[in-house]
């Protein structure tokens, strides 16, 4: 942990769809960081990082989002967000012709929640309890983009930052999966542009979790969970999705 974490000013970056549809994930993130002694501020004029446009081939239309993002977040020591995907987008694509150094500065200080807790705060214990069987969904942008955990394709030693944190939660029983890091098929606009394949991918991922007895599915990206939740609800399943922040914050 840094010498005096209380002196760190954290800008909380809440993805647009989390703000609108999954406030619980953002509230848990805010409360968790506050419990850990952080000075957390939510800049109230933030909207979206621009990823939905950029991944659809319209990166050239993200200037407005980029400028707004820089304007909202440049003052903080760290920017933390409960989304690997949005953070990866900012890290790889945030730019501003008029103030390029500001964009680069932000790229270097933006963190996904799990990596912030593990790499910056070095969290070793949590006062959290969640006595349920949980399946961990590895969202691709967090895993392969931000390297939150080792990837099954690589011949390299195992590690997993989300697992490290979930192991600190009392009573939580993690289920094993047959395919530990296969994509769920959300993929941004892919989920509607390639509806058939997207849903099939989601169904297959869910089958893996459900057949191994998960009663909750968690992950560090709400978008993947939203997609899988949509399928679960349509099937009338009782299995629930929860953002990892909500489990780490559960008492």
């Amino acid at each position: 942990m840094p010498d005096n974490p209380l002196s760190l000013r954290i800008g909380l970056f809440v993805p647009c769809y989390v703000d609108q549809f999954y406030p619980g994930a953002a509230i848990a993130t805010y409360q968790l960081l506050t419990k850990l002694g952080m000075d957390v501020t939510y800049p109230e004029n933030q909207t979206c990082c621009g990823q939905p446009m950029a991944n659809s081939g319209f990166e050239h239309l993200t200037d407005g989002c980029n400028t707004l993002f820089i304007d909202q977040f440049s003052e903080f020591d760290y920017i933390v967000s409960p989304s690997g995907s949005c953070v990866l987008h900012v890290k790889e694509h945030l730019k501003d012709k008029k103030q390029p150094e500001m964009a680069i500065g932000i790229r270097k200080k933006v963190y996904e929640l799990v990596e912030f807790l593990v790499d910056i705060l070095g969290v070793q214990e949590l006062n959290a309890s969640f006595p349920h069987k949980v399946g961990l969904h590895q969202s691709c942008h967090g895993q392969r983009g931000l390297m939150l955990s080792q990837m099954s394709e690589l011949a390299a030693p195992f590690y997993s930052k989300p697992l490290q944190l979930l192991k600190l939660v009392k009573g939580l029983e993690l289920v094993e999966l047959s395919r530990e890091d296969e994509c769920c098929g959300f993929g941004g606009t892919f989920c509607v542009a390639e509806e058939a394949v997207s849903v099939k991918m989601g169904k297959d991922r869910l089958k893996d979790h459900l057949s191994h007895g998960a009663t909750f599915i968690t992950g560090s990206d709400m978008s993947c969970l939203m997609h899988m939740e949509g399928i679960l609800k349509r099937d009338g399943s009782k299995v629930q999705v929860l953002h990892i922040a909500e489990i780490l914050n559960a008492e």
């Binding site: 406030p23 109230e44 989002c65 392969r144 690589l154 941004g188 297959d204």
Partner: protein, 459 residues
């Protein structure tokens, strides 16, 4: 995405493939099994990641000095007695093959696997000229009998079940009706192909690696069909893309160790055959084909895809490929690598392919030469949109979204009214015009957004 009028997009073709869910499961599980075999083979050698890095750097070096390597290769090959031809495009390649065959009065060509000749559509060209072409790779022969293109570069008929192959063989090779035992079917194909090998005066093979230092080339097969064809025929024609060069023979070991471990999980192909000089009384013709590769090399963001050694690992690992089938990519090379190669040739026709991905990145991780496949998919999306190949509805919705998200107040109003609408008039979104809703429920709209909660909490 706008593609040619009357042609189906990847999404539409994949939708068709998904009409039979059991088949999708079977296709997915078959290819996943191969991915697992790949993992076992790759993770079994401690220097795997170093091998990938080495191969990547050798290929980077090749691309940065391709002209000199090609000239070197040509000079050595000529010294060895190989006849070397240069083809600027597919048409030139096909003409060269035809000229050679015509001169030798050949009417039947036996061909081992060559994705390049698929790319050039050589079979149809020669058949129109009255020359019959018989593919001797078993999978290729099966799709040839079915009059289909291959659906996978290493496993051309992976989309076909053994019962379907049994039916084809019954119709074309006279096996018993209902016979689907792989051993019986393979034996029937062996006997049929043996006849072709013995009666063909000319054989065509692909090229996996061409060595600049020695002027030899290497063809990798599991069935030995390239060797049988090439050794029994008077004329051996080898077609290669100009990017297949490697500088030295010593580099070959790196690639041979990577190629089949990545492709099928085997330590090496059953046959890795070196062709250096023609046997007495025989001729070897080697055709160096550009067909857009030089132009491709000029595109800095996309150059690295020329490093591809055609192992197919990116297809086997791709969760989209496994659930959409190779034919949904409507290009000679399917899967993630096909989706980044195709736009080099035609951005309009293949405008949909870079979007047939969730950008999960698994392809880049299995690639034995470390091509940044998913990054290129992202970059092609930008190029395709900038060149005007996105459809109008998408352009308008993206413009609208961009305006909305650039204004905090507009965003807040839209969010609030959207949630209100979903709560009070769910039918506005829960209908057949919303592709999300077809098989998924919409998320439950909360009373207040996070920003509303935060504002109240801070008061």
């Amino acid at each position: 995405m706008a593609i040619e009028a009357g042609k189906q997009t990847h999404s539409e073709l994949a939708g068709g493939f998904n009409a039979d869910e059991q088949r999708v499961d079977w296709h997915d599980e078959t290819l996943w099994w191969i991915r697992q075999k790949r993992d076992k083979a790759a993770h079994g050698i401690p220097e795997w990641e170093l091998l990938r890095e080495t191969a990547s750097q050798i290929k980077n070096n090749v691309l940065s000095g391709l002209a000199a390597y090609l000239e070197n290769f040509e000079a050595r090959a000529l010294e060895n007695g190989i006849k070397v031809h240069w083809a600027a495009d597919a048409a030139a390649h096909n003409q060269i093959v035809y000229r050679i065959l015509k001169e030798k009065e050949v009417t039947q060509l036996v061909k081992s696997k060559s994705m390049l000749t698929e790319e050039c559509h050589l079979n149809t060209f020669l058949e129109e000229k009255g020359i019959s072409v018989i593919d001797s790779d078993l999978g290729e022969r099966i799709v040839q009998l079915a009059k289909e293109p291959p659906s996978h570069i290493v496993l051309p008929c992976i989309h076909k079940k053994k019962e379907e192959i049994g039916e084809l063989f019954h119709e074309h090779l006279g096996t018993a009706a209902g016979e689907s035992d792989p051993q019986v079917l393979t034996e029937a194909a062996r006997q049929h192909l043996r006849e072709v090998f013995l009666t063909s005066k000319a054989a065509l093979t692909g090229v996996n690696f061409a060595i600049a230092e020695t002027g030899e080339f290497v063809v990798c097969t599991n069935e030995g069909n390239a060797d049988l064809g090439a050794h029994l025929a008077d004329v051996h024609i080898a077609s290669m893309g100009i990017e297949k060069i490697i500088p030295e023979r010593a580099h070959l070991g790196v690639f041979l160790r990577l190629l089949t471990r990545s492709a099928t999980g085997q330590p090496i192909t059953t046959y890795s055959s070196h062709f250096k000089k023609p046997a007495p009384g025989q001729e070897i013709h080697l055709i160096l084909v550009d067909n857009g590769r030089t132009e491709h090399m000029g595109r800095e963001d996309f150059r690295a895809s020329l490093k591809c050694i055609r192992c197919g690992a990116c297809m086997n690992t791709c969760p989209v490929y496994r659930r959409s089938g190779g034919h949904s990519y409507h290009y000679t090379i399917s899967g993630p690598i096909g989706a980044i190669l195709a736009p080099n040739l035609d951005r309009k026709k293949y405008a949909d392919l870079p979007f047939a991905s969730t950008l999960c990145g698994s392809c880049s991780n299995v690639c034995p030469v470390k091509i940044d496949i998913h990054q290129q998919l992202y970059k092609w999306r930008q190029v395709i949109v900038q060149e005007g190949h996105a459809d109008l509805a998408k352009k308008l919705s993206m413009k609208g979204m961009s305006l909305l998200l650039s204004s905090p107040s507009a965003y807040r109003i839209a969010g609030k009214s959207g949630r209100w609408l979903l709560r009070h008039a769910p039918f506005a979104m829960n209908n057949k015009f919303n592709p999300w809703y077809k098989q998924r429920e919409m998320p439950a709209p909360p009373e207040q957004s996070f920003s509303e909660w935060y504002k109240k909490m801070k008061k």
